[in-house]
Amino acid sequence: MRSKVVFRRLLRNNQARYGFVALVLLVGLAYVGPFFGAYDWTDKDFLSFLSPPGGDHWWGTTSIGQDMYAVTLRGMQKSIIIGLLVALISTGLAAVVGAFAGYFGGWVDRVLMWGVDLLLVLPSFLVIAIISPRLREGTWLWFVALLAAFSWMITSRVVRSMTLSLREREYVLAAVYMGIPRWKIIFRHIVPNLSSLLIIDATLNVSGAIIGEAALSFFGFGIQPPDVSLGTLIATGSGNATGYPWLFAFPAGLLVALVLSVNLIGDGLRDALDPGSNT
């Protein structure tokens, strides 16, 4: 019932509508677009290095003759997957840790929150920067795990404080008296009641993760060659952006469009799920 109301509110929200349309177009471009290009992202055209956008190479070529169109879309696929995976893992982790800490209280709470504090103090940039280039033979999934591991702490604090108030509700107490195990109560009653917060958080985490990935890759600490992402492309493109603007403009423009559309959806979701707030 409520989901229907929320969905209708979401559709009436202009921001969210534009965001959805833009995101669908961008994802479509990333996954369907490569079939229309004449070149594969691994192809190298030895007859045209650094040629500007034109009929043959739509978005120009790189310094080693890669087709910019194919490479950029390949990078965008990677960025989208990383964004989604990191958001799912980090929001899930935040929900579980926050809910357990808030519901159980006592030493569980203290240990978990101490861990959160520690992770907040640890220099995430440094840890990821040192570890991830050394996982060369490992897959990029390690990089996703690292990004997720350092992005859930603040939300888990919010979840914890909201759990503290949910814990005393009648339906939770009723479930306790019915003899339902406590971990089941958390997943059946506490977490579903935080769903609006979690959905919004997950959406905004997607754009956060996409930016985070690009930022680390910008310094060469993220996705490692020969694999590409929007971050690695922007990094190589920004070095000679004045002479060969197409190397920078396409990946950077798509990155901004991607982040913007996800943010628009996140904002619209917040309005639809939580009409009281005016953020």
Binding site: V121, I131, A215, L255
Partner: protein, 325 residues
Amino acid sequence: MGKYLLRRLAINVILVAIAASLAYMLAATTMNPRAAYEGRQPPVPEAVIDATLDAYNLNDKTPVLVRYATWAKGVVTGDFGKTWNGGSVNGEMGRRIMVSLRLLLIGTLLGFALGVVLGAVSAVKQYKFSDRLIGVSSFVIMAIPVFVLATLLAIATYNLNRGLGFTLIEYTGEYNPRLSGWDQFVNRLNHLILPTISLSLGSIAFYSRIQRNMMLDVLGQDFVRTAMAKGLRRRTALTKHALRTALIPSATYFAFAFGTMFTGATFTEKIFAWHGMGAWLVDSINQNDVNSVAAVTFFAAVCILFASFLSDLLVAALDPRVRVS
């Protein structure tokens, strides 16, 4: 209160010690300072390399725990050890903190002040054109990562300078060492323009959104109406009563931003070639500089904890409700 503060201080000291130790261990076990000496032409004898690395406490043939103990002993007495090529980490850190301070102080303050003003204006003129304009532009700016924004600014300036035929705005480095006196000062200010814009645009967008929301909450409340009803002019009521109350959340964020300022500008420093603390983090990782990595981490952890402490103090000072409870 005193007891609470002491306990908090103790916890913070432990957290800083853990963060710095973990960073040291991670850096010392994975990084290879030897590589910088092994690749030299003509080749350096291994015994010489060992002796040099031993002198800097960087030798990977010494067990990690022994190196850690030497390092920790130094840190406790305030000595962060040597960089990979024998310079003093303390000296380097002092120099770089000043560079970051010169670079970031104006940008941080400007970002906060302009953001708060724009947010307040936006709230007072809710749903009018200026509100929409501020809202949309801050939304777009927040979607642009710093490294894209900084590169865009650099490109625009490059083209501007080329179009004009002379260098109107500098886009790399901190100053021109050939100038002196007043010219030098003006030249430094010129070098500040681009990094300051790239730093402050994001925070202007961020603060303006927070400030707008808080201001909207406050504007509808009784005490603002009372202030106007007792005969205050609208402007006075808005600035003295509404804005002041609505400032609390932005101020806490500001305290945090002020504390993390030194290490927060990695991209701006790298792209505009300023050699501050943020750039040092990236440089030291790339140079396998174990002691510098640990020092930056230590410094960053101290800054973050100090900032969270500062923001708590600020909330207590601004918000009477917190003081009572």
